[in-house]
Symmetry: C2
Subunit: 425 residues, 2 copies
Amino acid sequence: MKVYKAHIIYTKQRERFEVLENGYIAVDEGRVQGIAAQREDLGCPNAEVVDFGNKLLIPAMNDMHVHAPQFHNQGIAMDLELLPWLENYTFPEETKFSNIDYAERIYRRFVYQLWKMGTMRAVTFATIHTESTRRLMELFKQAGMGAYVGKVAMNRNCPEALQEPVEEAVSGMLSLIEAYNNPQDLVRPIITPRFIPSCTPELLRACADIAQRYNLPVQSHLSENLGEIELVRQLEPDSDGYGDAYMRYGLFGQTPTIMAHCVWSDEKERLLMKEQGVLVAHCPTSNLNVASGMAPIRTYLNDGINVGLGSDVSGGHDISIFRMMVYAIQISKMHYQRNHALPFLSLSEAFWMATKAGGTFFGKVGSFEKGYDFDALVIDDNTLHPDEYTTLQRLERFIYIGDDRQIAHRFCQGKEIVLDSKQWE
Amino acid sequence: MKVYKAHIIYTKQRERFEVLENGYIAVDEGRVQGIAAQREDLGCPNAEVVDFGNKLLIPAMNDMHVHAPQFHNQGIAMDLELLPWLENYTFPEETKFSNIDYAERIYRRFVYQLWKMGTMRAVTFATIHTESTRRLMELFKQAGMGAYVGKVAMNRNCPEALQEPVEEAVSGMLSLIEAYNNPQDLVRPIITPRFIPSCTPELLRACADIAQRYNLPVQSHLSENLGEIELVRQLEPDSDGYGDAYMRYGLFGQTPTIMAHCVWSDEKERLLMKEQGVLVAHCPTSNLNVASGMAPIRTYLNDGINVGLGSDVSGGHDISIFRMMVYAIQISKMHYQRNHALPFLSLSEAFWMATKAGGTFFGKVGSFEKGYDFDALVIDDNTLHPDEYTTLQRLERFIYIGDDRQIAHRFCQGKEIVLDSKQWE
């Protein structure tokens, strides 16, 4: 048992922050055992106290949608919208991951950058390449960070080098499932059909079969771009929309499901998402960069749909989930500007999406309530003049204008994670 | 005469970058004397060569709209739109600048942050307080950086403590003009009526008189928010719109004029801006944060209107003009998404706005063409794996994912500017 003392901030519910100035949190076996304003209320008088002084202690970030093999393209190739962007930049880069040495090099940097920015859990796409994907899973394990990693299923409308026959796709998935499908582990497989345009019906059905057989979660892309939606309509003429197409294949909430983007989901699709418990990975930066549009997140929340945040590197250029909070709020303000009946997101709502809402996908993650995994960041904002601001303003300033330089410690499931840039970058 | 060697990138025209890998630039008396791909083509064989090796050399940033006295609010108070935001956060903060010691403390930090982010020239609002404004001008001088600094004129629709009688406003302006109106200097006054809602007609006329008498530039706010526009319509019923109201007072291009925001300027207003040579300070981050809207910059460029970039701290939370380029491109993509006849901004266009387009306001600033002031940044992107990218991709990555840690040297008018954080922060 250890007790950490700091100015503790987290969100139990999205409407407001819980703030414990000079509060205490007891951690044992990776989990929060208690949290209290007074030391004596914790009920573990003999536990060692680690005092973080004037620093802030907050839950770590969860990135609900990110493409590890696009990491080398981070910050470049911003001159096309989604479909030509995939064809010209993304697919060519992903073909390189047939080479495990290349994968190792890029994936190492990728895991390091997640760590650096305070993201302790990520739901990532890899590529079709089974052994490179395994390497990524090993790197997450080595780092001690949490991840769902998806070997990508795709077999049409992409370069031949990225098309994998269904049987090979299935045997690759099964090989990773055999090695990693342990519910206790921090690093686990996720079934990952890229999106309907790049998967034949046979492949989509195979993905659904495996997900249901092994009770594994599913991730994919949904209603990101109007051209993409039209393409899906042509490919799936019998379906009642894009979400319904996934639904018919068994990939829409039959097991826990994340759908990235959902910029253009209509009322019918949103209703299906709500009924099926689909989690939206909102990727505001990416949606701007590849000119997709602005997802109406207030509408999703009003509908009772769960929403987390995703960096979507490299459609998104920024891997910091703190920056995603800022962008999510900004985009919600553009919806509000047009329609004042849609209040823009508050900081606590954005924070909740980045921590507790996304965290539900990993178990009890993203809060400091009793029983939650202790995934945490210690924020040292001494360069941001902390004494001149309230505790919540200090958090707001760190989110808006801070960066990795203020992240002093990072914990995942109770363990402090320290990565050496020389080995990882 | 000095010669600098590096990978040189700049924009002569907005459509494309000029790139000289291992190029040379000759600087004397603060100005570019020549630029060439080969050393011998410079024609100054005896000049000392400073070799920046594999680093990038680019023009420094120009911030065309920023509020120095709002710097303490940077990164907080993001929960209101423009008019209540002014009332609840901004005006109360600005009243503190009656205290010169407070002003000194905040202005010092402000100048330091501009420097840190590579902004060598800024067009700033101060407050109504003459002596605090003088202090800000002195700090810019002390730093060796370029600035237009505006003592703000306002006398209605704001707290009494921020209302200055017209005669006092005039005598304050004249006192600063007397001290600083030297066209050779880097730090100069600019006539700064806050915006029509906060100035009586008498005050607006007085501002125009002074601007024209001393041939001084003017800055103000224009068509930022729909509520504000409606308020101006009520206050100026005889005018044919917001821009026309400034025009009638003599504050719209009669001398060089910057108007910040211009989110909602209609065709008539844009035509007037074009005719009067008004420069738009586009502040994309601020426009999102205070829920104003998205300025249609492609339309302005198509109309032949000059556009620079502004951080607009603290409506904008980010003082980096590099980040403004990213936001400007992203917002233009949302216009493009709705109307493909409005191509989104390219990186060279955003860079041109941040350098040469804004720089026109300071003289020959923002390019490396012969005769331009040598305002420059040396970018050391060694942590961003430069060897794996083209020179232009390196610049793009620095803009999208870099920060002050990559800015190795900063020059303003030929002089390297080095500020010590201990003295300034």
